[in-house]
């Protein structure tokens, strides 16, 4: 994986020094609170319900054991002993004190990490397939592209005061595990008819209040032209994106209101100018970045026996096929029933770091589904890995099953929330745990407000927590999809008060079990085959489909 050179190192150190100075200038009044706010945000510091929240960047979700241990130390020293892995492959600390933040940033810089541009109206953390470099279905590893975009977008002078945030995701596999179609720019790596590498460029995807699937702006962009093309898109957006209304300021609104054809025309015209002045990265530099992501030296000729008992059961959900036949991709579930989805204690972080070091070729990933991945584990080591995970409370064998729920922090943490999401996730997980293997693959995602940080729009069953006259009310959506067959979930009818939610989900699951062809047809396929009607009827047996006012 990429490691910092002198330039990167000098940059993060200077950045921390600058932020210390900016905090001092905020205190002495040189900077007003309004002026300090985007500076604070572009250094990852949010103000939330109870405290500041620091969002640390984990570029394209890739992290090594030294870095993971440092996060554990930070959690213990400056926070309450845990961190939260997010739907954009970052980690959040919920309780830092403002005066400690420059020291935390220094501790991050010590291990080649930072919190730069994880918030603010700028290009955010570039996310990528969490199975990159390990999955067998990959055309090309997306991470060198993500690293290139990270460098290009860091402190980019033109694009730090955009109309709104800007999110880019990259997939190197036709099986899109990076939710690219719900990003401001989504890049899908592919080859043209002559085998030359390039990207399909999608623009204007996004969730939140007005969920939209992105549109193809360029079906094939040659690989070397990526950066000037991104500059063209960003420039058009920066100039023309709406600045009058925060909720209409994303590029998806510009595409929706102007039309993809006209936006494409403007981008292609800007691209001609940009390409001339800024042809992109030096090819030798690109090659050096790609070399940093060379695969590890896999162990050859090591025998292994099939797994037995609990380990075998765990492996059916928590391992995925690796490009090397003797290896597996391990997903460590951070969704233990009863725990907070996506959270890990400092001790658990150390366990994962140790496992990566001993059995994982020194690599870990964070997935947008709030789990941690060990991408390269030899099958001979799976039993031992499983044993260690079990002991650390990380052995939940539920990846992709009903209790593997994505939930935003919700009203327990977030000032924007209209409902609590974590307790709801915990209750649902506990309720269905015993039956989840029978039920099969099932993606529930919960958002505690309309901003959709839980990605509920692209869940098989999405749950949106709202406030109706002071009471929490949960709106269900069905049939969402975060993959290459991306779809926004549909609303079958009115929302449910908290106590009616689980009975409603029970009816939904029961109906699915009755109607599925056989256990190999997952819920989402049955939904696509049968349509909304039987599931709507199950949710509203008394026909109560009136819209929530």
């Amino acid at each position: 994986m990429y490691s910092y050179d002198d330039f990167d190192e000098a940059f993060v150190r200077a950045r921390v020094a600058t932020f210390r100075e900016q905090v001092a200038r905020r205190i002495d009044g040189s900077l007003t609170e309004e002026e300090f706010r985007p500076i604070r945000l572009m250094n990852g510091l949010y103000l939330q319900l109870h405290a500041y929240m620091l969002r640390v960047a984990i570029p394209y979700g890739t992290i090594n054991p030294v870095q993971m241990r440092q996060l554990a130390m930070i959690a213990e020293r400056w926070d309450k002993g845990y961190g939260h892995f997010t739907t954009r492959q970052n980690i959040q600390f919920n309780w830092p004190e403002l005066r400690d933040v420059p020291d935390i940033l220094d501790a991050l810089a010590d291990v080649g990490m930072h919190a730069i541009q994880t918030s603010g109206n700028c290009v955010r953390n570039v996310t990528a397939d969490h199975f990159a470099g390990a999955a067998g279905d990959e055309i090309e590893d997306p991470r060198p592209t993500a690293e290139l975009i990270r460098q290009w977008s860091t402190d980019h002078p033109e694009f730090l005061y955009l109309p709104r945030k800007f999110k880019i995701a990259v997939t190197g596999s036709p099986n899109d595990r990076a939710v690219t179609r719900a990003h401001d720019i989504g890049l899908r790596m592919l080859r043209d008819a002559d085998g030359a590498p390039g990207y399909e460029v999608i623009v204007g995807g996004g969730l939140g209040r007005t969920p939209m699937i992105g549109k193809v702006i360029r079906p094939f962009l040659p690989k070397a032209e990526l950066l000037p093309y991104l500059e063209a898109v960003l420039q058009v957006y920066n100039l023309l994106g709406r600045r009058d209304n925060k909720y209409k300021a994303r590029i998806k609104i510009l595409v929706h209101e102007t039309g993809i054809d006209e936006v494409r025309e403007m981008v292609e015209a800007a691209f001609v100018l940009k390409k001339e002045a800024f042809p992109g990265a030096d090819p030798d530099l690109v090659a050096a970045i790609e070399a940093a992501f060379a695969p590890p030296r896999f162990i050859e000729g090591l025998m292994y026996a099939p797994l037995k008992g609990k380990a075998r059961v765990w492996a059916t959900t928590n391992t995925a096929a690796h490009r090397h036949p003797d290896y597996a991709i391990v997903t460590v579930s951070l969704k233990a029933v009863g725990a907070t989805p996506g959270d890990a204690t400092a001790q658990q972080m150390r366990v994962m770091a140790d496992l990566a070091e001993r059995f994982g070729h020194g690599e870990l990933r964070v997935s947008h589904e709030q789990n941690v991945i060990l991408p390269h584990v030899h099958r001979a080591h799976l039993a031992e890995v499983h044993e260690a995970l079990l002991e650390a409370g990380l052995g939940a064998a539920n990846v992709g099953l009903l209790s593997d729920i994505i939930a935003c922090p919700g009203m327990d943490y977030c000032a924007l929330a209209t409902a609590r999401s974590i307790p709801v996730a915990q209750e649902i997980a506990a309720h269905f745990e015993a039956r989840e293997r029978e039920i099969g693959p099932f993606k529930i995602k919960i958002s505690g407000c309309i901003n959709a940080c839980g990605h509920h729009h692209v869940a098989h069953v999405g749950i949106l927590g709202l406030d109706r006259a002071g009471v929490e009310n949960y709106q269900i959506t069905l049939g969402g999809d975060a993959t290459e067959s991306a779809a926004i979930g549909e609303r079958p009818g009115h929302g449910f008060p908290a106590e009616a939610l689980i009975p409603a989900l029970d009816r939904l699951v029961q109906r699915y079990l009755e109607l599925r062809r056989d256990p190999s047809e997952p819920f989402i396929d049955a939904f696509r085959r049968l349509g909304m009607t039987p599931f709507r009827d199950a949710l509203y047996p008394d026909g109560g489909t009136r819209d929530a006012a």
């Binding site: 900077l31 402190d155 730090l160 030798d284």
Partner: protein, 143 residues
């Protein structure tokens, strides 16, 4: 009283020409003029007249409105070689970005200059350091 900020710090106004309107610019047949641009200006409209301009001043009504950075970039891409000035609510923290985006100088009012005195701007005069975008164009250092 305005303050003009450059890499050398605070200085007085150095412009000689009066600011024209776009119509006046179109009708003029001489060079060396100055022009004010609002943040919603279309840089393309200026393309035929760039050689008549010595100074283009782009407004920043709010520091959070970053359109001026793209207008500056676009003008440079269109071949403008005269002076570019960012004027208005521009913070010392944005000085380096302004220079890298193609601006030559920043114009602020006396109130902002008092609140963000010269040394805060001079600390950003090293705007060529830590420039990732420029670094991408270079060959990697020999191992």
């Amino acid at each position: 009283m305005s303050v003009i900020v450059t890499d050398q710090g605070f200085g007085p106004e150095t412009r000689i020409a009066a600011f024209l309107t776009l119509d006046e610019l179109r009708q003029s047949e001489t060079a060396g003029h100055a022009l004010d641009l609002a943040p919603d200006a279309d840089p393309e409209a200026l393309a035929p007249f760039l050689d008549r301009l010595a100074l283009i001043r782009i407004a920043f009504p709010a520091f959070s409105d970053g359109r001026g950075f793209s207008i500056a970039s676009r003008l440079r891409l269109l071949g403008y070689r005269g002076r570019l000035r960012a004027r208005g609510h521009v913070l010392a923290d944005q000085y380096g970005h302004a220079r890298r985006a193609g601006f030559d100088e920043v114009e602020i009012d006396a109130i902002l200059a008092a609140r963000q005195p010269e040394e805060q701007w001079l600390r950003r005069a090293n705007w060529q350091d830590g420039d990732y975008r420029a670094r991408l164009r270079q060959k990697p250092a020999a191992a």
